[in-house]
Structure formats: C-alpha cells, structure tokens
C-alpha cells in the first residue's frame, strides 16, 4: 500500500476491555487504527492486536461469516466483526463490546458453556424412525422434504440471536432462539423420529414459552436462519402437544 504523504485516514474504536486478573470491572479503551475502504471490524481489531496492544482478546477464525466465532456488539448491535465493514458504519468512533447477555471471560471473549449445554439438550442429531442397516441403503429425501428444514441447518452458532433476545437477557435459563432453530432443523427432517423427545425438552416456561415474539433474533441473524419462525412453529407444536398428550398411551405428563 503506497504511503500517502498527507494525513492517513484513521478510525477510532472504543472497545470494552476486561482483564480478570487486573481489572475490577469492564471499562472502555480507545484505539486509533489506519482506515481503508475495504476494512472489516475484525481487520481493525487484528490491526490493534498486531500493532498497538497484543493483550486485546477476541475470538475469530474464518474471516468469512462461516465459523460464527467473531460475534460482538458493534455500535450496540449484535454483528459478526468479519461481516461488518467499517465503511458501512456511521462516521465517528466505533463502539465494540462483547456479546450482550453473556458473562465476559476476557475483553470481547464471552463464556459459551451454557449455550453449548442448551444445544446438547435438544438431541442435536437425527434419531432414525426405524434403524436401517447399511445393506438396506440410505435414507432418501425429496427436495421438498429437504426444503422443510434446510434453512434451519444454516445456523453457525454465532449466538447473535441470544445477544439480541431480551427474554434470554432476563432469564439465562431460557432455551433461546438458536437452540430452537437447531431443534426445528431435526424435528422438521423427514428422516427423524425424535420429535416427541425434543418437544418434551421445551414444553416448560424456560423452553419455548419464554419467548414474547420480539423477533429481533431473526433480524440480527447473519445467515437468515429465522430462529423466531422456529420458535413460533414450536409454540404451535408444543400447544397441540399440551392437549394431544392425553390421547397418547401413558402420555399425560
């Protein structure tokens, strides 16, 4: 890059820092980095880490909105740092904070343990209706059957929807939008027979019923998974299950 003789354009980033060994509470630190037209927020953070402060901590991996590692609050909105270009942000300093509603581990790194437990709790794998041997061949699926769940399989577990969800902010036990999208990915799969098992994990107040249909989760989703739709479909399913359980043998729980 040719060095301009005139003043280099810079951008200021105000980053919420927290180093558990030395800081009593999180506080903002300010950094100025050289600005280019094609710079993402992630690149700006990497520039800071490489040239200004090597202690700045943040998660990242793929740089192309596939891995879901670099979710953070950018100007107060949950976004992927790699997917957010500085030129698309309003002029002036850019505020960067760790994802809302999660405990901070260090700087922009949040604790994801509870989220992973939620993902595990909804049986995130296909439970075949009837087991088949290899000799019996694969489980076939029509394009229409694939379309029924395909969009929900696009989730990259970036947790932006959890940072957007006011109900998850109120009640960290709420199963939340992302896990509900994953649940619908399997419940909507024609090869799967685990629907009832999964419905049983979400029929409580901390399950699907904590949602108040705010819809911000779907708005911030970088992969257009529409978790709010998954939640809504499962409100319907869970509501029918509320009454249909009386018709199942031994199902009135």
């Amino acid at each position: 890059m040719p060095e301009a003789a005139t003043a280099v354009k810079t951008v200021e980033l105000k980053i919420l820092r927290y180093r558990p060994a030395s800081d009593e509470r999180p506080a903002f630190g300010s950094f100025k980095v050289p600005y280019t037209e094609d710079m993402s927020v992630l690149e700006a953070l990497q520039t800071i880490k490489d040239t200004l402060d090597g202690t700045l901590s943040f998660r990242w991996s793929c740089r192309m909105a596939v891995c879901g590692s670099c979710g953070m609050m950018i100007n107060g909105k949950p976004q992927l740092a790699c997917n957010t270009l500085l030129r698309n942000l309003p002029p002036g300093p850019v505020t960067i904070e760790p994802l809302n509603n999660f405990p901070i581990e260090r700087d922009l790194v949040v604790s994801v343990g509870d989220f992973v437990k939620k993902i595990e709790s909804i049986y995130p794998y296909i439970i075949p209706k009837e087991p088949k041997t290899v000799a019996e061949g694969p489980y076939l699926q029509t394009p229409a059957q694939l379309a029924a769940y395909e969009s929900f399989s696009d989730c990259i577990n970036c947790m932006l929807c959890y940072a957007a969800c006011p109900q998850f902010g109120e009640n960290p036990n709420f199963i939340g939008p992302g896990a509900m999208a994953l649940l619908q990915r399997y419940n909507g799969d024609s090869r799967d027979g685990g629907q009832q098992k999964r419905l049983d994990t979400i029929h409580g107040e901390d399950g699907v019923w904590s949602c108040t249909a705010v819809g911000y989760c779907s708005e911030v989703c970088p992969k257009q998974v529409d978790p709010a739709n998954a939640v809504n479909q499962n409100k319907t399913n869970s509501a029918f299950d509320f009454f249909l359980r009386f018709l199942r043998p031994g199902g009135a729980r």
Partner: protein
C-alpha cells in the same frame, strides 16, 4: 442424555391458543368489521336498510350460529389483545406479573363471561 432434567410443563398453551386463534380471526375479519360497523353502517353506505335495524341484529344474536360467531369474534379478539398487551407490559416491566395478568387476561376472561351471559340472555 440423562443429565438434562425435564422441565415442568407450562400452562402457557391455554393462553397462547386463544391468542393464536384470535390473531387469525382478527387478521381475516378485523378490517372488514371495521369497514362495515365503523364506516359503512354509520353512514348507511352500500348496506341494505335492514342491516342497522334492531330486529335484524337481534335475530342474528338469537340464532345459535350467530351466537357462536359473536362469541368467537368478541372473546378471541380480546384474548389475542390480552396476550399481546400482557407480553408487552411484561417486557416493559410495567408492574408485578400477577397484576398485569389480572389487567389483561382478567379483562378478557371477564368480558368472555359477560358475553356468554348476554348471548344466553337475548334468548333463542
């Protein structure tokens, strides 16, 4: 996956189903009702003379099918509104949850009961 304790079943479906049904009904019939009862009827525009007559309305309310329509329209609209307003007030932390429930579900329940009683009172 035995480490996950199954949560107690919520009774929310009892409130959510009328909410959903009311939402469907209000989307389908709400605009038409506003047009007919709010604009066309008071101005006498496009409607037959008999539409506004007391006898006509009374006959509608006395018909068993008419009663069912009136109950569904009045009660389910209210349960829909009650749930939506309750969740909004809850999100806004407008007060203790029990009070908010009385102010929303309570009103819907009371009006439902009154509607049933009135529909029975007008006779068949």
């Amino acid at each position: 996956m035995s480490q996950f304790v199954q949560e107690k079943r919520s009774i929310s479906p009892l409130f959510w189903l009328p909410f959903g049904a009311g939402g469907m009904l209000s989307a389908l019939f709400g605009p038409a009702l506003i047009l007919i009862t709010g604009i066309l009827a008071p101005t006498g525009f496009l409607l037959p003379q008999s539409f506004e007559s007391y006898d006509h309305a009374r006959a509608f309310a006395q018909n068993p099918l008419g009663k069912l329509v009136l109950l569904a329209i009045i009660a389910l609209f209210l349960w829909h509104g009650a749930e939506r307003i309750f969740l909004t007030l809850k999100d806004m932390k407008a007060g203790p949850l029990l009070n908010l429930k009385y102010a929303t579900y309570g009103v819907a329940a009371a009006v439902t009961v009154v509607t049933v009683l009135l529909l029975l009172a007008v006779g068949f």
